[in-house]
Symmetry: C2
Subunit: 228 residues, 2 copies
């Protein structure tokens, strides 16, 4: 049984936590202010239902602060938004992140100018690189950011699973561990290593294309396969 | 028989011109200074052989200035580099581009800081949008920029052709014509329309990911398939 911390309580955090808890692992989901989150009774800006209702339906999951969840987890998923990620990880605390495998799913999307979104950082830098620089002792692996939440934990639902997950990071051991998690926990058949963490520029800059494909398909249930 | 202008004499321009001429169409390939190009006897910076040798092996192709080729062609391929594209199209002349289908293959890659390249324009704008703004009467369709030159004209060589070409542009008639060309001339089985020309941001921002996949595969013979 693994100890897992999931930072973020949006659709990505909930989907991951629900799946990982169902596998029997100890999951702590984290938010800035747990009491305030539990007090909310209205849907969020994107129409997602109140967290308290979701937590009631997932009794195996515990809600905690970023610091608490990061301290508890051996493996951490960063499922916060691009705007909130660095602050959330700062609240988690560098000491609690040190030595941990930190799976960074964040896309630095800026919706402030409407759809389609632009990126908060791109081209010569990326969110994952910013995180790795800021928390040098964490083992950051960029992964899962190229698919929607349902596809992350159930790749077989799309084309029978015949498509690829692309990851990158500086630590080979961490990438091997993430590859194992993706395959054994979620059922990914193919995980391609794109090298060091600067590969996150490509993975994050893919998002504007993902958005256009999503709009043309009218669905978030898709992924890419590298055909050779 | 179609009249085709190919702007650019690098590997992309040569590959397209060679294939299109072999199909029996009238092809004019364009460069800034044809005499200077024909006088060169050394390989270029990327090791591509002298143009004169290539032209000798492709007697159906004529070499001309940008303006001459643009005037002759009913369909134009922009196969210039990102750094040279706007200047080349300016030399072709707005009047010669007006009303023409202009297939923009350019990737705004900046190799000045070494590998992997960054983009000269991205996120809130794209090369194709710059071209469409500058030459408002041309019917710009972004296409083919997501694959290497050999794959452009022979998609079947990769995975039997079971992968997708993604295009975008403001003119539906032009996109229908480009789709026909891609399928009938080059053998593309699937061409997906991503909407208006702003979709080029996604298509061009995909390039950093393409470069990383290329490095991980050790080959340029690949493309993506949208799996649903």
């Amino acid at each position: 049984m693994a100890k897992v911390g999931v930072l973020g309580t949006g659709i990505v955090g909930r989907t991951l936590a629900s799946k990982i808890a169902a596998l029997g692992h100890a999951v702590v989901v984290a938010t800035r202010d747990p009491e305030a989150l539990m007090a909310r009774t209205d849907p969020d800006a994107r129409g997602l239902g109140p967290f308290s209702g979701w937590l009631g339906a997932n009794p195996g999951v515990r809600l905690a602060t970023f610091a608490d969840a990061a301290a508890q987890g051996d493996v951490l998923f960063n499922a916060t938004s691009g705007e909130a990620a660095l602050e959330a990880l700062g609240a988690a605390g560098a000491a609690n992140l040190a030595g941990k495998v930190l799976i960074d799913i964040t896309n630095p999307l800026d919706f402030s100018k409407g759809m389609p979104p632009t990126l908060l950082v791109s081209n010569t830098d990326s969110m994952a690189e910013q995180i790795q620089r800021e928390f040098a002792d964490a083992k950051v692996v960029k992964a899962l950011n190229i698919v929607s939440a349902p596809v992350m934990v159930d790749p077989a639902a799309v084309g029978g699973g015949d498509h690829d997950m692309l990851i990158c990071g500086n630590d080979d051991g961490a990438k091997a561990e993430v590859t194992r998690i993706l395959k054994e926990w979620f059922g990914w058949r193919s995980v391609i290593d794109l090298g060091d963490i600067t590969g996150a520029r490509g993975l994050e800059m893919y998002l504007p294309l993902w958005v256009r494909v999503m709009m043309s398909q009218g669905s978030v249930a898709f992924n890419i396969k590298i055909v050779r």
